[in-house]
Symmetry: C2
């Protein structure tokens, strides 16, 4: 696009004065006339830049405590008239073109953040600014609209590169930015006023589209967007290596980061189909990785893995990417961490498809959680708590270590409901997810899946005499703790757990049959703990 327009007359009216003197000086040197208002005028004058007072253009006074400054037939005509079709008409009306508007709006957002009351909020609704911005943007074929001080440098460079003009492509981009700016501004005003009226509304904008290869399945188109102007976003992760990230990768990565975020020491989460099938925390990252992997060593293949501490070479080597026997190599989709030792990075890069992602899970602090359900939105606080109150409700009161309690609840909270998991403190002090069952219509199924997984894993780790296996399983299960995301509706899960050696159960409580459940635990001499907090997740 080679449609240039000379920048000769510039209207500047900004609330944010950042970079204003530099821009003013540049425009002065470029031979532009600068028209300006109030505070902007003062700053430019102090920088020694000659300014035309807006009143000499509008022919009107600044009126009504500043509510009327720029809005006028003269200013908006100068911005809006078609430089081809309307040229004679403008001349007859004595309208000189304004070629560029530099404007940002009354800081409605910041006064809102300061907790302004309604009258102050109202006073901070800019009327003249959006009018100028929108008029200039509409006439982008000739007029340059600048709403963001961060664009001053680009605009100056563009003018320099084109001999004092801006090019049409740049003006189109700036026009899009302008309408996004006014859309954001009125969106914030609208939601704020609705909130004031006690009828809250929500408005979201998403930009920076990344077209993905496809959606959840190849017949669905998929795109990843960033929440506009969010201070942080999962989109800001750094991808150091590997194939393009897929739709399902992103969702699993989110699950992995959520699962590992609240772990202590070195934490590792292994995700398959959005559920953590491996989870561990402890002192030695490599050992923690091994323990997480052992949670479901079959499903861990092709998983998404997140660490909460920088990955060492020793840890990375557990994947055996350089094993001569290719079947020994543990292929996973993503390894994410707050960082990577250079040698670990080199090691992981051996696998050309493996996606290596830098993202610190501590950054993941969502306040809300949303679900779209056919032109409706389910909007809720994120589930960030773990328990209300630890209450030993059985006669037996074998204590559960605080760290194990936090770990187990963190795990079960992250599993799709109905969910059950078993966690244990290992001999070396590390904490490990020994088994889980999730996504079940029936809680009994979730318990059965969990217990079967635990038995399988204990069998895998057992190295002694085959005759001793069952004893080993009962012994280890007896030291572990079973966690449920919601109350047991019947005593059946207590019996099932007991049959496989579980001795301690943590669940929210709150069923109308709690009494029967507690009695069953007492019958079986088990420790039953209520937390008072359910963790459904769907």
């Amino acid at each position: 696009m080679k449609h240039f327009t000379p920048v000769k007359r510039v209207l500047i009216s900004v609330s944010d004065k950042t970079g204003l003197p530099e821009l003013g000086k540049y425009l002065q040197k470029a031979g532009c006339e600068i028209i300006s208002t109030g505070g902007t005028h003062r700053v430019l004058k102090e920088a020694g830049i000659p300014v035309t007072d807006i009143q000499s253009v509008t022919g009107n006074p600044e009126a009504f405590g500043g509510r009327m400054k720029t809005i006028s037939f003269q200013i908006e005509s100068a911005l809006l008239f078609d430089r081809e079709k309307d040229r004679d008409e403008a001349e007859a009306l004595g309208i000189l073109p304004i070629d560029m508007v530099v404007c940002n709006l009354y800081p409605f957002g910041s006064v809102k953040k300061e907790g302004a009351d309604l009258p102050r909020l109202i006073e901070n609704i800019d009327i003249g600014g959006p009018t100028m911005i929108r008029a200039a943007a509409k006439n982008y074929r000739w007029v340059t609209t600048v709403v963001d001080p961060a664009d001053y440098r680009m605009v100056m460079e563009n003018m320099t590169a084109h001999g004092g003009h801006t090019d049409l492509e740049t003006r189109f981009t700036l026009m899009r930015k302008a309408f996004n700016h006014t859309a954001d501004y009125d969106s914030l005003i609208a939601t704020t006023m609705d909130e004031q009226a006690g009828e809250p509304t929500l408005r979201f904008a998403f930009d920076q589209p990344q077209v993905l290869r496809y959606g959840e399945n190849s017949h669905q188109k998929g795109t990843l967007y960033r929440l506009r102007n969010a201070p942080d976003s999962l989109c800001d992760m750094e991808v150091l290596h590997g194939k393009a990230i897929s739709y399902n990768n992103m969702f699993d990565l989110y699950g992995a980061l959520e699962a590992v975020r609240d772990l202590k020491n070195n934490g590792c989460a292994i995700i398959k189909h959005a559920n953590p099938c491996g989870l561990s925390e402890g002192k030695n990252q490599r050992k923690v990785f091994e323990k997480a992997w052992a949670g479901d060593p079959v499903s861990a293949f092709g998983s998404v893995i997140a660490f909460n501490t920088p990955v060492t070479l020793e840890t990375a080597q557990f994947l055996e990417l350089d094993a001569k026997d290719k079947s020994q190599r543990k292929f996973v989709e993503i390894v994410s961490a707050p960082g990577f030792e250079p040698s670990a990075l080199d090691y992981l890069k051996q696998h050309k498809n493996l996606r290596i992602v830098v993202f610190d899970p501590a950054r993941l602090q969502p306040a809300h959680d949303m679900k779209f359900i056919y032109n409706a939105l389910l909007y809720q606080d994120a589930d960030r708590e773990l328990l209300d109150k630890v209450e030993y409700v059985s006669h037996k009161k074998d204590p559960v270590d605080e760290d194990l309690m936090r770990f187990g609840l963190t795990a079960v909270r992250q599993l799709k409901s109905n969910a059950i998991c078993v966690a244990r403190t290992c001999k070396d002090g590390d904490i490990q997810l020994l088994g889980m069952g999730c996504g079940q219509p029936n809680r009994v199924n979730a318990t059965q899946l969990t217990l079967a997984r635990c038995r399988e894993n204990l069998k895998n780790e057992y190295t002694g005499d085959p005759d001793g296996l069952e004893e080993y399983i009962r012994q280890e299960m007896g030291k572990a703790v079973l966690f449920s995301d919601a109350f047991f509706p019947f005593p059946d899960n207590v019996e099932l757990s007991h049959a496989d050696g579980i001795r301690t159960i943590v669940q929210p409580g709150g069923s109308i049959r709690d009494k029967a459940v507690i009695e069953k635990a007492d019958d079986l001499e088990m420790t039953l703990i209520f937390t008072g907090m359910r963790h459904f997740k769907h």
Copy 2:
């Protein structure tokens, strides 16, 4: 709020002329001066209503092909000045107040829908309208802003009720509506221009909040919003009876409607934790309900149920809500249908907590599907297809009936991944979900869960000699079909299925080990069908 303002001068400039003459006549009778522009002026004049031409107020001509009509120091001052503080200043400047603005904007949205090109889109960006609306809305303490013809009646009634004034509460409500209107308008312009630039952005607004008792769990606040201005929404369902609908109810209801939407004849879906644990279609609704219930008769308690045809009394009676033995009564959370026979409704209302919902699942036609993941959005086409191409890849080619194929794929598509299900055509021709397994990191687990559920259900329905049970199971499993939402990565699932009597498997295919999987099916003389379409859902 008793802050009244007299409506004496009204500025009308509307693109949508609906209801304009009636409003004009009312204002005329109320003794108002009406200021107007172009087309609006003409319509009012034709209706015999005296109109002041806007040019006599602005002192400016209409200029630049209509781009400049209202924007002027005079009009915006008349809207914006503070009726208390700025009274003297306005008088000195000769500004008479304008007390009401009736304005809607150039139809950017409709010309976009017509497929307008960029120049036409740009010409339909209204500049003067939003300026007037925003100025009037900012000064809502005195000025009434009307942006929607649907509000004319209310405004006239409000004026009549208050002796020719509007009240402050109404003006505040109209102000909120005004800023929502301009926010919508600029949102649409912004996303349209971003789309034109090949960098699509998304903007969503949600209103009509319904505060729910809580979110997924009681420590999370939850609210249901409606997608603003959507022609249809799940929020529009009619709740005929029962307790307030909860957050989890809504999500399950969405799942139930999705599951039943694509069923033929009479369809019924039973949902627990967002997954269909019962699903059936056929000629007789009562029998279909029984068959769906039999899919998981334990989990069906406390479920959310959707029908795709109006519910009859006979169907409703299956819940046995009037059973003398209370344990016989089948309590469910929601029964949803496109309608209810009056006698069925009366019957269901016996249970005071049961939520009875009217919603036709055929209405549920989402084009997209979204997931929020920490300030990012995963956005994709909804998964509305079933298969690419039916391909019998085994030697054995026992045909699968088209209806059973559609039903089974519909079911497995709706289950959380990894998902497996078994469906069968019953002796009476109805189709039934015999068992399912879902939400598993490992596909083998999903298969095991499914087969165990099928065996259990067949055992439940078997009435013959106990010795004949195993034979019956093998016979029924042999007639049923197993569906997988994604390819089998290994032949193990084929073996597992075969061991429980399955003879026909439908899966997408596409694994690097397809050959081994097909060989296994051939070894076991099974029919293996590839569909070419995966249905992951998370």
